[in-house]
Protein backbone atom coordinates (compact mmCIF):
# COMPACT_ATOMS: atom_id res chain seq x y z
CA UNK A 1 0.00 0.00 0.00
CA UNK A 2 1.33 3.33 -0.91
CA UNK A 3 1.36 5.95 1.87
CA UNK A 4 0.51 9.35 0.71
CA UNK A 5 1.92 12.33 2.63
CA UNK A 6 -0.62 15.04 2.05
CA UNK A 7 -0.32 18.36 3.89
CA UNK A 8 -3.49 17.59 5.88
CA UNK A 9 -2.18 14.14 6.74
CA UNK A 10 1.14 15.54 7.92
CA UNK A 11 -0.58 18.16 10.09
CA UNK A 12 -2.92 15.60 11.66
CA UNK A 13 -0.05 13.23 12.21
CA UNK A 14 2.04 15.90 13.93
CA UNK A 15 -0.83 16.85 16.21
CA UNK A 16 -1.39 13.19 17.12
CA UNK A 17 2.31 12.69 17.82
CA UNK A 18 2.39 15.87 19.93
CA UNK A 19 -0.54 14.62 21.98
CA UNK A 20 1.19 11.27 22.48
CA UNK A 21 4.38 12.95 23.62
CA UNK A 22 2.44 14.70 26.38
CA UNK A 23 0.87 11.42 27.46
CA UNK A 24 4.09 9.42 27.36
CA UNK A 25 6.37 12.01 28.87
CA UNK A 26 7.52 11.13 32.42
CA UNK A 27 5.36 13.13 34.85
CA UNK A 28 7.40 15.64 36.81
CA UNK A 29 7.18 14.41 40.44
CA UNK A 30 8.89 17.37 41.99
CA UNK A 31 6.49 20.25 42.28
CA UNK A 32 8.05 23.12 40.38
CA UNK A 33 9.18 25.87 42.71
CA UNK A 34 6.83 28.28 41.12
CA UNK A 35 3.85 26.05 41.98
CA UNK A 36 4.64 24.67 45.42
CA UNK A 37 4.42 26.83 48.52
CA UNK A 38 6.21 27.10 51.85
CA UNK A 39 5.30 27.08 55.50
CA UNK A 40 7.49 29.17 57.78
CA UNK A 41 7.28 30.14 61.39
CA UNK A 42 8.80 30.15 64.85
CA UNK A 43 8.37 27.91 67.85
CA UNK A 44 8.83 29.42 71.28
CA UNK A 45 8.63 28.31 74.89
CA UNK A 46 6.34 30.41 77.06
CA UNK A 47 8.88 30.95 79.82
CA UNK A 48 12.55 30.69 80.66
CA UNK A 49 13.76 27.14 80.06
CA UNK A 50 14.53 24.89 83.02
CA UNK A 51 18.26 24.76 83.78
CA UNK A 52 19.89 22.22 81.48
CA UNK A 53 21.38 19.37 83.50
CA UNK A 54 25.10 18.81 82.89
CA UNK A 55 26.21 15.33 81.93
CA UNK A 56 28.98 13.66 83.94
CA UNK A 57 30.95 11.64 81.39
CA UNK A 58 33.72 10.58 83.79
CA UNK A 59 33.14 6.91 82.97
CA UNK A 60 34.30 7.64 79.42
CA UNK A 61 37.50 9.67 79.78
CA UNK A 62 38.05 10.21 76.02
CA UNK A 63 34.68 11.96 75.81
CA UNK A 64 34.91 13.71 79.18
CA UNK A 65 38.07 15.35 77.88
CA UNK A 66 36.25 16.81 74.88
CA UNK A 67 33.77 18.55 77.19
CA UNK A 68 36.31 19.53 79.83
CA UNK A 69 35.87 23.27 79.40
CA UNK A 70 32.13 23.16 78.79
CA UNK A 71 30.20 20.12 80.05
CA UNK A 72 27.62 18.69 77.71
CA UNK A 73 24.04 19.05 78.87
CA UNK A 74 20.87 17.02 78.44
CA UNK A 75 18.95 18.23 75.41
CA UNK A 76 15.36 17.46 76.38
CA UNK A 77 14.63 21.20 76.39
CA UNK A 78 16.93 23.54 74.43
CA UNK A 79 15.97 27.18 74.32
CA UNK A 80 17.92 29.86 72.47
CA UNK A 81 18.70 33.32 73.72
CA UNK A 82 15.46 34.82 72.36
CA UNK A 83 13.18 32.10 73.66
CA UNK A 84 13.29 30.01 70.49
CA UNK A 85 12.66 26.32 71.16
CA UNK A 86 15.11 24.07 69.33
CA UNK A 87 14.74 20.47 68.22
CA UNK A 88 11.04 20.82 67.47
CA UNK A 89 9.99 18.59 64.59
CA UNK A 90 7.33 19.91 62.19
CA UNK A 91 5.46 17.93 59.56
CA UNK A 92 2.14 17.65 57.72
CA UNK A 93 0.16 15.18 59.79
CA UNK A 94 -3.01 15.50 57.74
CA UNK A 95 -3.74 16.46 54.18
CA UNK A 96 -0.55 15.36 52.49
CA UNK A 97 -1.31 12.92 49.71
CA UNK A 98 1.82 13.27 47.62
CA UNK A 99 3.74 10.17 46.73
CA UNK A 100 7.14 11.69 46.22
CA UNK A 101 10.06 9.33 46.06
CA UNK A 102 12.29 9.63 49.08
CA UNK A 103 15.22 12.01 48.67
CA UNK A 104 18.29 10.29 47.29
CA UNK A 105 20.49 12.28 49.66
CA UNK A 106 20.75 10.33 52.95
CA UNK A 107 20.12 11.86 56.35
CA UNK A 108 23.00 11.56 58.79
CA UNK A 109 23.45 11.21 62.51
CA UNK A 110 26.87 11.10 64.10
CA UNK A 111 28.23 10.08 67.48
CA UNK A 112 30.75 12.68 68.52
CA UNK A 113 31.90 13.55 72.03
CA UNK A 114 29.51 10.84 73.27
CA UNK A 115 26.45 12.78 72.13
CA UNK A 116 24.27 12.32 69.07
CA UNK A 117 24.44 15.10 66.47
CA UNK A 118 21.84 16.23 65.60
CA UNK A 119 19.59 15.54 68.57
CA UNK A 120 16.54 15.20 66.30
CA UNK A 121 17.07 13.84 62.80
CA UNK A 122 14.27 13.61 60.26
CA UNK A 123 13.97 11.11 57.42
CA UNK A 124 11.35 10.45 54.79
CA UNK A 125 9.94 6.93 54.47
CA UNK A 126 12.45 5.01 52.38
CA UNK A 127 15.22 7.58 52.77
CA UNK A 128 18.58 6.22 53.88
CA UNK A 129 19.92 7.18 57.31
CA UNK A 130 23.69 6.98 57.75
CA UNK A 131 25.10 6.58 61.27
CA UNK A 132 28.77 7.32 61.95
CA UNK A 133 30.98 6.97 65.00
CA UNK A 134 33.54 9.75 65.27
CA UNK A 135 34.65 8.98 68.80
CA UNK A 136 37.62 7.10 70.18
CA UNK A 137 35.30 4.75 72.02
CA UNK A 138 32.85 2.27 70.60
CA UNK A 139 29.12 2.89 70.77
CA UNK A 140 26.06 0.68 70.53
CA UNK A 141 23.23 2.58 68.90
CA UNK A 142 19.78 1.37 69.91
CA UNK A 143 16.70 2.96 68.30
CA UNK A 144 13.52 1.95 70.13
CA UNK A 145 10.55 2.23 67.74
CA UNK A 146 6.95 1.62 68.75
CA UNK A 147 6.15 -2.09 68.70
CA UNK A 148 3.95 -2.95 65.74
CA UNK A 149 4.70 0.33 64.03
CA UNK A 150 6.46 -1.23 61.07
CA UNK A 151 10.00 -0.46 62.23
CA UNK A 152 11.94 -3.35 63.74
CA UNK A 153 13.88 -2.76 66.94
CA UNK A 154 17.60 -3.44 66.70
CA UNK A 155 20.87 -2.33 68.24
CA UNK A 156 24.30 -2.38 66.63
CA UNK A 157 27.83 -1.96 67.94
CA UNK A 158 30.11 0.43 66.14
CA UNK A 159 33.80 0.43 66.95
CA UNK A 160 35.81 3.61 66.75
CA UNK A 161 36.49 4.30 63.08
CA UNK A 162 34.20 1.51 61.87
CA UNK A 163 32.21 1.78 58.65
CA UNK A 164 28.98 3.80 58.82
CA UNK A 165 25.75 1.97 59.53
CA UNK A 166 23.05 2.51 56.90
CA UNK A 167 19.40 1.97 57.64
CA UNK A 168 16.08 2.52 55.94
CA UNK A 169 12.98 3.29 57.91
CA UNK A 170 9.70 2.25 56.33
CA UNK A 171 7.17 2.98 59.07
CA UNK A 172 6.03 6.52 59.77
CA UNK A 173 6.75 7.39 63.37
CA UNK A 174 7.19 10.62 65.27
CA UNK A 175 9.56 10.00 66.77
CA UNK A 176 11.73 6.95 67.41
CA UNK A 177 13.79 7.43 70.60
CA UNK A 178 17.43 6.41 70.25
CA UNK A 179 19.77 5.49 73.06
CA UNK A 180 23.30 4.14 73.34
CA UNK A 181 23.58 0.86 75.20
CA UNK A 182 27.07 1.74 76.40
CA UNK A 183 26.56 5.38 77.41
CA UNK A 184 23.29 5.86 79.30
CA UNK A 185 23.15 9.67 78.91
CA UNK A 186 23.05 9.62 75.10
CA UNK A 187 19.66 10.39 73.61
CA UNK A 188 18.37 11.25 70.13
CA UNK A 189 15.18 10.98 68.09
CA UNK A 190 14.55 9.82 64.54
CA UNK A 191 11.34 11.17 63.01
CA UNK A 192 10.06 9.20 60.01
CA UNK A 193 7.37 10.85 57.86
CA UNK A 194 6.19 11.30 54.31
CA UNK A 195 6.39 14.71 52.73
CA UNK A 196 7.95 18.04 53.71
CA UNK A 197 9.26 18.51 57.23
CA UNK A 198 11.61 20.66 59.27
CA UNK A 199 13.49 20.75 62.58
CA UNK A 200 13.91 24.05 64.43
CA UNK A 201 17.28 25.43 65.41
CA UNK A 202 17.75 27.38 68.61
CA UNK A 203 16.12 30.49 67.14
CA UNK A 204 13.00 28.34 66.91
CA UNK A 205 12.68 29.12 63.20
CA UNK A 206 11.53 26.54 60.67
CA UNK A 207 10.72 26.35 56.96
CA UNK A 208 8.92 23.57 55.09
CA UNK A 209 9.73 23.71 51.38
CA UNK A 210 8.00 22.32 48.29
CA UNK A 211 4.59 22.05 49.91
CA UNK A 212 1.92 21.28 47.29
CA UNK A 213 -0.88 23.85 47.50
CA UNK A 214 -3.72 22.72 49.75
CA UNK A 215 -5.10 22.54 53.26
CA UNK A 216 -3.08 20.74 55.90
CA UNK A 217 -2.71 20.09 59.60
CA UNK A 218 0.78 21.13 60.60
CA UNK A 219 1.99 19.32 63.72
CA UNK A 220 4.85 20.48 65.93
CA UNK A 221 6.39 17.79 68.14
CA UNK A 222 8.75 18.36 71.05
CA UNK A 223 10.03 15.48 73.14
CA UNK A 224 9.17 16.97 76.54
CA UNK A 225 6.14 19.14 75.85
CA UNK A 226 4.28 16.93 73.39
CA UNK A 227 2.49 18.08 70.23
CA UNK A 228 0.65 21.11 68.99
CA UNK A 229 -1.29 21.36 65.76
CA UNK A 230 -2.44 24.11 63.49
CA UNK A 231 -4.51 24.19 60.33
CA UNK A 232 -2.65 25.82 57.49
CA UNK A 233 -3.62 26.63 53.91
CA UNK A 234 -0.81 26.82 51.40
CA UNK A 235 -1.37 28.83 48.23
CA UNK A 236 0.66 28.16 45.09
CA UNK A 237 4.03 29.87 45.27
CA UNK A 238 3.15 31.62 48.55
CA UNK A 239 4.52 31.25 52.05
CA UNK A 240 2.12 30.53 54.91
CA UNK A 241 3.23 31.56 58.40
CA UNK A 242 2.45 29.55 61.54
CA UNK A 243 3.85 30.15 65.03
CA UNK A 244 3.72 27.82 68.00
CA UNK A 245 4.19 28.43 71.69
CA UNK A 246 4.75 25.46 73.94
CA UNK A 247 3.79 25.73 77.58
CA UNK A 248 6.27 24.56 80.16
CA UNK A 249 4.48 22.59 82.86
Amino acid sequence: MKVRFTPVGLLTGSIVLLCFSFVLAKPNHKVAASVGGQITGTVKLDRIAPKAKPIDMSKEPSCAQIHASKPATMESVVVGTRGGLANVFLYLSEGYTGNDAAPSQPATIEQRGCVYLPHVVAVNVGQKLVITNNDQTSHNIHPMPKPGGGNPEWNKSQLSGAAPIEVNYTGEEVAVPVKCNVHPWMRAFIAVVKGPHAVTDDTGAFKLDNVPPGTYTLTAWQETYGVQTSKVIVAPGKSANVDFTFKAK
Binding site: K53, M74, S76, S138, N181
Partner: protein
Protein backbone atom coordinates in the same frame (compact mmCIF):
# COMPACT_ATOMS: atom_id res chain seq x y z
CA UNK B 1 65.54 -31.77 73.92
CA UNK B 2 67.62 -34.01 76.13
CA UNK B 3 66.55 -34.79 79.67
CA UNK B 4 69.32 -32.69 81.16
CA UNK B 5 68.49 -29.63 79.08
CA UNK B 6 64.83 -29.93 79.96
CA UNK B 7 65.65 -30.20 83.65
CA UNK B 8 67.77 -27.08 83.51
CA UNK B 9 64.95 -25.24 81.75
CA UNK B 10 62.43 -26.25 84.41
CA UNK B 11 64.76 -25.13 87.16
CA UNK B 12 65.43 -21.85 85.40
CA UNK B 13 61.74 -21.04 84.89
CA UNK B 14 61.02 -21.91 88.52
CA UNK B 15 63.75 -19.69 89.90
CA UNK B 16 62.94 -16.73 87.64
CA UNK B 17 59.27 -16.95 88.58
CA UNK B 18 60.10 -17.15 92.25
CA UNK B 19 62.37 -14.15 91.95
CA UNK B 20 59.67 -12.07 90.26
CA UNK B 21 57.25 -12.83 93.05
CA UNK B 22 59.70 -12.33 95.92
CA UNK B 23 61.04 -9.09 94.46
CA UNK B 24 57.45 -7.85 93.86
CA UNK B 25 58.26 -7.10 90.25
CA UNK B 26 54.55 -6.89 89.41
CA UNK B 27 52.72 -6.42 92.65
CA UNK B 28 49.55 -4.94 94.05
CA UNK B 29 48.93 -1.19 94.01
CA UNK B 30 49.20 0.83 97.21
CA UNK B 31 46.69 -0.14 99.87
CA UNK B 32 44.44 2.70 100.98
CA UNK B 33 42.04 0.91 103.29
CA UNK B 34 41.84 0.08 106.97
CA UNK B 35 41.26 -3.64 106.41
CA UNK B 36 43.77 -3.82 103.58
CA UNK B 37 46.85 -4.81 105.61
CA UNK B 38 45.07 -7.96 106.89
CA UNK B 39 44.20 -9.01 103.34
CA UNK B 40 47.65 -8.20 102.00
CA UNK B 41 49.44 -10.13 104.72
CA UNK B 42 47.11 -13.08 104.16
CA UNK B 43 48.05 -13.02 100.49
CA UNK B 44 51.74 -12.87 101.33
CA UNK B 45 51.44 -15.85 103.69
CA UNK B 46 49.59 -17.87 101.09
CA UNK B 47 52.10 -17.04 98.39
CA UNK B 48 54.96 -17.89 100.77
CA UNK B 49 53.60 -21.29 101.76
CA UNK B 50 52.38 -22.30 98.34
CA UNK B 51 55.44 -20.78 96.73
CA UNK B 52 57.85 -22.73 98.92
CA UNK B 53 56.13 -26.00 98.03
CA UNK B 54 56.04 -24.97 94.38
CA UNK B 55 59.76 -24.22 94.20
CA UNK B 56 60.66 -27.34 96.18
CA UNK B 57 58.46 -29.54 94.03
CA UNK B 58 59.73 -28.13 90.75
CA UNK B 59 63.38 -28.38 91.77
CA UNK B 60 62.95 -32.01 92.92
CA UNK B 61 61.26 -32.75 89.59
CA UNK B 62 64.12 -31.08 87.72
CA UNK B 63 66.65 -33.06 89.75
CA UNK B 64 65.01 -36.38 88.95
CA UNK B 65 64.72 -35.54 85.26
CA UNK B 66 68.36 -34.45 85.24
CA UNK B 67 69.59 -37.63 86.91
CA UNK B 68 67.33 -40.24 85.35
CA UNK B 69 65.66 -38.55 82.38
CA UNK B 70 67.86 -40.00 79.65
CA UNK B 71 68.55 -43.25 81.40
CA UNK B 72 67.77 -46.42 79.51
CA UNK B 73 67.97 -48.41 82.72
CA UNK B 74 64.93 -49.84 84.37
CA UNK B 75 63.17 -46.98 86.21
CA UNK B 76 64.24 -46.79 89.83
CA UNK B 77 61.71 -47.24 92.60
CA UNK B 78 61.22 -44.94 95.53
CA UNK B 79 61.80 -47.03 98.61
CA UNK B 80 58.38 -48.16 99.82
CA UNK B 81 56.67 -47.50 96.48
CA UNK B 82 54.35 -44.79 95.27
CA UNK B 83 51.47 -45.17 97.72
CA UNK B 84 53.16 -43.75 100.86
CA UNK B 85 54.52 -40.90 98.77
CA UNK B 86 51.09 -39.94 97.45
CA UNK B 87 49.60 -40.18 100.93
CA UNK B 88 52.35 -37.97 102.32
CA UNK B 89 51.81 -35.37 99.60
CA UNK B 90 48.06 -35.44 100.18
CA UNK B 91 48.45 -34.87 103.89
CA UNK B 92 51.03 -32.14 103.46
CA UNK B 93 49.10 -30.14 100.91
CA UNK B 94 45.81 -30.74 102.70
CA UNK B 95 47.22 -29.45 105.97
CA UNK B 96 48.60 -26.39 104.20
CA UNK B 97 45.26 -25.55 102.55
CA UNK B 98 43.32 -26.03 105.77
CA UNK B 99 45.75 -23.92 107.74
CA UNK B 100 45.61 -21.11 105.23
CA UNK B 101 41.80 -21.22 105.27
CA UNK B 102 41.61 -20.91 109.04
CA UNK B 103 44.16 -18.15 109.20
CA UNK B 104 42.63 -16.43 106.20
CA UNK B 105 39.16 -16.47 107.67
CA UNK B 106 40.24 -13.65 109.96
CA UNK B 107 40.90 -11.37 107.01
CA UNK B 108 37.61 -12.38 105.39
CA UNK B 109 35.72 -11.90 108.64
CA UNK B 110 37.19 -8.44 109.12
CA UNK B 111 35.47 -7.36 105.91
CA UNK B 112 32.28 -9.40 105.77
CA UNK B 113 31.41 -10.45 109.29
CA UNK B 114 31.94 -7.26 111.20
CA UNK B 115 29.09 -4.80 111.36
CA UNK B 116 29.57 -1.41 109.78
CA UNK B 117 30.24 1.54 112.01
CA UNK B 118 26.85 2.99 113.10
CA UNK B 119 27.97 6.45 111.96
CA UNK B 120 29.04 5.23 108.53
CA UNK B 121 28.10 7.41 105.54
CA UNK B 122 25.50 5.44 103.57
CA UNK B 123 25.69 5.55 99.79
CA UNK B 124 23.40 3.74 97.39
CA UNK B 125 25.13 2.21 94.35
CA UNK B 126 23.33 1.07 91.23
CA UNK B 127 25.08 -0.89 88.49
CA UNK B 128 23.43 -1.20 85.11
CA UNK B 129 24.70 -1.98 81.66
CA UNK B 130 27.20 -0.24 81.40
CA UNK B 131 27.60 2.43 84.02
CA UNK B 132 27.52 2.97 87.77
CA UNK B 133 25.39 5.64 89.42
CA UNK B 134 25.61 6.67 93.05
CA UNK B 135 23.05 8.19 95.37
CA UNK B 136 23.50 10.19 98.55
CA UNK B 137 20.60 10.63 100.97
CA UNK B 138 20.78 14.40 101.13
CA UNK B 139 20.08 16.63 104.15
CA UNK B 140 17.07 14.60 105.34
CA UNK B 141 19.25 11.52 105.71
CA UNK B 142 16.63 9.34 104.02
CA UNK B 143 16.74 7.59 100.67
CA UNK B 144 13.63 7.84 98.53
CA UNK B 145 11.99 4.64 97.32
CA UNK B 146 13.03 3.24 93.96
CA UNK B 147 10.48 2.70 91.18
CA UNK B 148 12.06 0.77 88.28
CA UNK B 149 9.15 1.68 86.02
CA UNK B 150 10.09 5.35 86.37
CA UNK B 151 13.70 4.89 85.28
CA UNK B 152 14.24 7.32 82.42
CA UNK B 153 17.80 7.87 81.29
CA UNK B 154 16.68 10.51 78.81
CA UNK B 155 15.82 12.79 81.72
CA UNK B 156 18.65 11.53 83.91
CA UNK B 157 16.34 9.70 86.33
CA UNK B 158 18.71 6.74 86.57
CA UNK B 159 17.36 5.34 89.83
CA UNK B 160 13.64 5.68 89.14
CA UNK B 161 12.92 8.26 91.83
CA UNK B 162 9.49 9.84 92.20
CA UNK B 163 10.10 13.35 93.57
CA UNK B 164 6.54 14.39 92.72
CA UNK B 165 4.98 11.94 95.17
CA UNK B 166 7.85 10.92 97.43
CA UNK B 167 9.24 13.69 99.66
CA UNK B 168 12.18 11.55 100.83
CA UNK B 169 13.54 11.40 97.30
CA UNK B 170 13.40 15.13 96.64
CA UNK B 171 16.78 15.89 98.18
CA UNK B 172 18.51 12.70 97.04
CA UNK B 173 21.72 13.46 95.18
CA UNK B 174 22.51 11.26 92.18
CA UNK B 175 26.03 11.32 90.77
CA UNK B 176 28.13 9.47 88.22
CA UNK B 177 31.22 9.62 90.42
CA UNK B 178 31.70 8.14 93.89
CA UNK B 179 33.25 10.70 96.19
CA UNK B 180 33.89 9.91 99.85
CA UNK B 181 35.57 11.68 102.75
CA UNK B 182 38.90 10.21 103.83
CA UNK B 183 39.20 8.35 107.17
CA UNK B 184 35.41 8.05 107.53
CA UNK B 185 33.58 4.72 107.56
CA UNK B 186 31.52 4.27 104.42
CA UNK B 187 28.61 1.87 103.93
CA UNK B 188 27.74 1.08 100.31
CA UNK B 189 24.52 -0.72 99.43
CA UNK B 190 24.78 -2.33 96.02
CA UNK B 191 21.90 -3.23 93.73
CA UNK B 192 21.73 -4.04 90.06
CA UNK B 193 19.40 -2.51 87.51
CA UNK B 194 19.65 -5.52 85.24
CA UNK B 195 22.24 -8.33 85.28
CA UNK B 196 25.17 -9.32 87.47
CA UNK B 197 27.98 -6.79 87.86
CA UNK B 198 30.78 -6.30 90.34
CA UNK B 199 32.29 -3.41 92.26
CA UNK B 200 36.05 -3.59 92.45
CA UNK B 201 38.54 -1.03 93.65
CA UNK B 202 42.03 -2.52 93.77
CA UNK B 203 43.48 0.02 96.14
CA UNK B 204 40.60 -0.41 98.58
CA UNK B 205 40.94 -4.19 98.55
CA UNK B 206 37.19 -4.31 98.06
CA UNK B 207 35.35 -6.48 95.57
CA UNK B 208 31.65 -7.21 95.80
CA UNK B 209 29.31 -8.65 93.20
CA UNK B 210 25.97 -7.11 92.39
CA UNK B 211 23.36 -9.85 92.43
CA UNK B 212 20.11 -8.95 90.64
CA UNK B 213 17.33 -8.77 93.20
CA UNK B 214 19.56 -8.28 96.24
CA UNK B 215 20.72 -5.18 98.13
CA UNK B 216 24.23 -6.07 99.24
CA UNK B 217 26.14 -4.06 101.84
CA UNK B 218 29.88 -3.54 101.81
CA UNK B 219 31.73 -1.24 104.18
CA UNK B 220 35.22 0.14 104.35
CA UNK B 221 37.26 3.16 105.40
CA UNK B 222 39.66 4.84 103.00
CA UNK B 223 42.92 6.11 104.44
CA UNK B 224 44.38 8.14 101.57
CA UNK B 225 43.02 10.82 99.27
CA UNK B 226 43.22 10.34 95.54
CA UNK B 227 41.32 9.24 92.48
CA UNK B 228 40.91 5.52 91.89
CA UNK B 229 39.16 3.36 89.33
CA UNK B 230 36.07 1.33 90.05
CA UNK B 231 35.89 -1.43 87.47
CA UNK B 232 33.29 -4.05 86.74
CA UNK B 233 34.68 -7.52 87.25
CA UNK B 234 31.65 -9.61 86.39
CA UNK B 235 31.00 -10.13 82.69
CA UNK B 236 27.78 -8.28 82.03
CA UNK B 237 27.53 -7.85 78.27
CA UNK B 238 29.18 -6.19 75.31
CA UNK B 239 30.11 -3.04 77.20
CA UNK B 240 31.63 -4.81 80.20
CA UNK B 241 35.18 -3.96 79.13
CA UNK B 242 34.26 -0.30 79.22
CA UNK B 243 32.22 -0.28 82.43
CA UNK B 244 33.84 1.82 85.08
CA UNK B 245 33.49 4.79 87.37
CA UNK B 246 35.87 6.79 89.52
CA UNK B 247 36.28 6.85 93.28
CA UNK B 248 37.42 10.20 94.66
CA UNK B 249 38.68 10.15 98.21
CA UNK B 250 38.60 13.75 99.42
CA UNK B 251 39.25 15.67 102.58
CA UNK B 252 36.08 16.32 104.59
CA UNK B 253 36.01 19.97 103.45
CA UNK B 254 36.49 19.07 99.79
CA UNK B 255 33.85 16.38 100.05
CA UNK B 256 31.29 18.77 101.56
CA UNK B 257 31.95 21.25 98.76
CA UNK B 258 31.66 18.53 96.13
CA UNK B 259 28.37 17.31 97.54
CA UNK B 260 26.97 20.83 97.59
CA UNK B 261 27.92 21.30 93.92
CA UNK B 262 26.30 18.02 92.97
CA UNK B 263 23.13 18.87 94.86
CA UNK B 264 22.88 22.12 92.92
CA UNK B 265 23.00 20.18 89.65
CA UNK B 266 20.08 17.84 90.46
Amino acid sequence: MSGKAFAVLVALITLVTAYCVIAHVWWMPVDISVHGPKIDSQLEETVFVAGTLFVAGQLVLAAFVFLYGSSRDKPKQIPGGAKPLVLFAFLLVGAEVLALSFIGSKAWGAVYFTAPDPGALPIDVQAGQFAYYFRYAGPDGKFGALHPALINEGSQNYFGLDPEHDPDSRDDIVTAELAIPVNKPILLTLHSKDVGHSFYVRELRVQQDFVPGLNLPIHFTATQTGRFEIVCTQLCGLGHYNMKAYLSVLSQADFDEWLKKQAAMQ
